[in-house]
Amino acid sequence: MGSPYGALAGAKVRSLASAPGLLVLRSAGDVFIVTMEALAPLLLVSQFGSIAGWSGPEVAMLIGVARTGEGLALIVGRGIDPNTFGDTVRLGRFDQILTRPVSPLLWLLTSDVELRFVFRAAAGAGVVGWSAHRLSVLSPGTAVVLAAAAVASALFVLSTLVIGAAVTFRTVEGSDFAVLLSNGGMGLAAFPLEVYSSALRLIFTFLVPVGLCVYVPVLTVLDRDGPGVLGPGLLPVLPVVVGAFAGLSLLTWRQGIRHYESTGS
């Protein structure tokens, strides 16, 4: 708690805890949405027999990993989502943040901690646990791979948010496209990549590494081979590509701050 970031996050958590009704409702809503989403592949499989050769619980595992990662990222990502951060820049509040003796990015991440997303992450983890149990693939080794997948997915979502925030310094609207990248990417990764064309698969594995974060680890856990180059063999590449993506987002952020011109009024 010695750091200002811990104190900031603690203050926000206490303020959220003072309105428990709202927190409970929103958290329950998040859990409900993730549950509904995980039910969709089960319904589809009951009608079609499988989704590109995958069973219901197998597809649910993809959804669970994606939602766990997204939930983890959004716990701290609220301060830089396009709506919030767009206002921060437009209203000139970012000037004040820059004058503080702290890292602007860390300040933004810790000052708007959102507890309801803990429950979204937990619901996602619950779906992963349920599917791993149903498929009898739970072991210490697979648990590590799945946890790494969730952390990688969280890093992916946070990085897109940071890129979006950096774009906000130049154009307030452009950042929405970055969010589309993470939302759309997560929506895409909720189903086996066999479903999509090879171009879409490659873009969303290597350029926008959401397939690498969600799909490849699940392939590893299920001991399956994907189409083309996709398969468990790609797992070692995951930290490299996700690290590079996160690094790129930090570079963009620094560039963005350098071009920040405040609001002229």
Binding site: I33, L44, F48, E173
Partner: protein, 253 residues
């Protein structure tokens, strides 16, 4: 009022572009999913791949009309007290609110929804009406969907008269609406009684019935059911408004 709402929405060009990009992206993902599924089976729950692809792209149109960007405005104005000013203006409050809201959603429909559907209809094999009566019925069905969505937003927003936690309730309602409205999986794929509720229940007018009218599966009866639910919802809106106006007096001060 309707045209004021229409023009107001036309100012947000950038948010419109993002909306279209998101719509098209998710439309492509969903299309890919269903094309892949229908390689395994030709007919499922009475629907073939053409019908389901039509569902996907009508969904993209309807999504921009139901889950609109200004979804919080009414509830927020109730919360802040700004809504009290609405009560002073001449004319029926409810009619005015719905007219502005409809104007805004018509803009979304005209610029964001229908062009997408037209392009999808050219690129993909969709089952869209081609005869004048069919086109007219589909237009009517989309209009009824827009009215139903406006009514739904009003009913949800009026929660703010009773509780400051309306955003929390909305998160719950959103999940329910999303799933049972058929925005995740077509209602025809639901099992047993759930399917019947999805096809004929109060939420069917948002998506399931416009899809039926578009693909010509019992179009006339779907349209009639849609109109019935709009009338029911209108009655609900009126009674909520009457109760809420009395509460508003307690709030103001």
């Amino acid at each position: 009022m309707y045209w004021a709402g229409f023009r107001r929405q036309s100012r947000y060009v950038a948010s419109l572009a993002v909306g279209v990009a998101a719509n098209v992206f998710f439309g492509i993902i969903r299309s890919a999913l269903f094309v892949s599924l229908y390689r395994q089976k030709e007919h499922v729950a009475g629907l073939d791949v053409t019908a389901v692809l039509t569902y996907v792209w009508v969904l993209q149109v309807v999504f921009g009309v139901v889950f609109v960007t200004w979804i919080w405005e009414f509830a927020d104005s109730v919360r802040s007290g700004d809504f009290a000013a609405e009560l002073v203006k001449p004319g029926a409050v409810l009619g005015r609110l719905l007219a502005v809201d409809l104007g805004r959603s018509s803009f979304a429909l005209a610029t964001r929804g229908l062009p997408q559907l037209a392009v999808a209809g050219i690129v993909l094999d969709l089952r869209l009406p081609t005869t004048p009566p069919g086109v007219l019925m589909f237009a009517l069905s989309l209009a009824l969907c827009a009215v139903a969505a406006s009514q739904l937003r009003f009913l949800f927003g009026s929660l703010a008269f009773w509780t400051p936690d309306y955003r929390g309730w909305w998160t719950m309602l959103f999940g329910f609406l999303w799933f049972t409205g058929g925005f995740l999986v077509p209602v025809e794929f639901f099992p047993g009684a759930l399917r019947w509720i999805g096809e004929h229940g109060p939420l069917a007018g948002l998506l399931a019935m416009p899809v039926r009218v578009a693909t010509g599966r019992g179009a006339a009866s779907a349209l009639a059911e849609q109109a019935c639910w709009v009338v029911v919802a209108a009655a609900a809106c009126h009674s909520v408004m009457a109760t809420a106006e009395r509460r508003m007096v307690i709030h103001g001060g």
